[in-house]
Symmetry: C2
Subunit: 204 residues, 2 copies
């Protein structure tokens, strides 16, 4: 790779990183291109050199986040054997590394009924479905192995997903330990609800 190409790639990454954090902090609409320019030191014109427009930048950020998350989690996953452990692991990994997922704070803006941006909506649906499909796969494995009762894995996946991403909203005033406790308690509640009777888990 060229010295020019390297530097170009670096500024593109710098823009995307700043945009991600700003979208999380302020929301999509409230984040202006000028905000991103100020945060990075990259001129507005240069931002438009690297990205088609604000919308394209957001979609790029979303795509990158999804890739990054999956890579990191697949690495973490190796240390867990049972599905139960993996579900707890996901929650922990979620809290520690992705405490602020762009979707959690930003997505709602685009699910408006009228005047909404279909391009971004489709991208969001894709991302959400990827998330849920992954959870569904995990839960199916747990059901197949007898760790959980036979059940509708898609419904369970949606509930699990809700727990993971929804808890964020009421953790804003909690510290890390309190947050982890809340998440652990939530997963426990979820698990004991779907654990089979001959599971290793017992009601305490």
């Amino acid at each position: 790779m060229n010295k020019k190409q390297t530097k170009s790639m670096l500024t593109k990454k710098k823009i995307a990183d700043a945009a991600k954090h700003l979208f999380i902090q302020k929301g999509y609409t409230a984040t202006s291109i000028e905000n991103i320019s100020d945060a990075t030191g990259v001129s507005k014109g240069n931002i438009y050199y690297h990205f088609e427009n604000k919308e394209g930048l957001f979609i790029y950020v979303l795509d990158e986040w999804e890739k990054e998350w999956m890579e990191q989690w697949e690495e973490q996953k190796k240390q867990y054997s049972s599905t139960t452990e993996q579900l707890h692991g996901i929650a922990k990994h979620f809290v520690i590394n992705d405490y602020n997922h762009p979707l959690t704070n930003v997505a709602d803006e685009f699910f408006s009924h009228e005047n909404s941006n279909t391009l971004i909506q489709n991208q969001l649906y894709k991302t959400i479905n990827t998330r849920i499909s992954y959870s569904q796969k995990l839960l199916s494995e747990g059901i197949a192995s007898g760790e959980f009762k036979t059940d509708d894995s898609l419904l369970l996946a949606k509930i699990f997903d809700t727990l993971l991403y929804g808890l964020n909203n009421i953790c804003r005033d909690l510290n890390m330990k309190e947050t982890l406790d809340l998440y652990a308690k939530a997963i426990d509640t979820f698990l004991y609800g779907i654990a089979s009777d001959d599971s290793a888990h017992s009601h305490d």
Copy 2:
């Protein structure tokens, strides 16, 4: 009440109603005063006659929603005896009447770390805590009556709240029946997880 006062109150209500729906649909930032003016036929100047500013309008909407919800639910509540029934009842009532709660779609915009509006943030915290306190009261009753295991009712309330408000986010492409099924399944999962062993409920 005067004919003038009545008409004035009516336009104020009309503005608040339209604002609520627009905030839900498009988010706070993306909803402009002109949008509200267009939706109601009330002039921008008149909106500012009835409300101090956009922020005051939002807080008013939030306050009204909370009052309305509580009144409606207290009416519904009468038909349920056990806490279990009441929790299911809340979910049903939630889906049918408050499918779109302003908080669910709008709140995230104001929990940004910098440059955020403290007035609205406080109002949001108040509303969220009211919600959770109410759930906590219900769960405490269930624990006291022996319907649920002894547990940290605040943690459970937060989890229940998350379930209720978070599920919304993945119900956008579901019809009413599917939504109700998902909510019922979520509450069941939640309940069987915290139900005491001598509870009337059995794992199916």
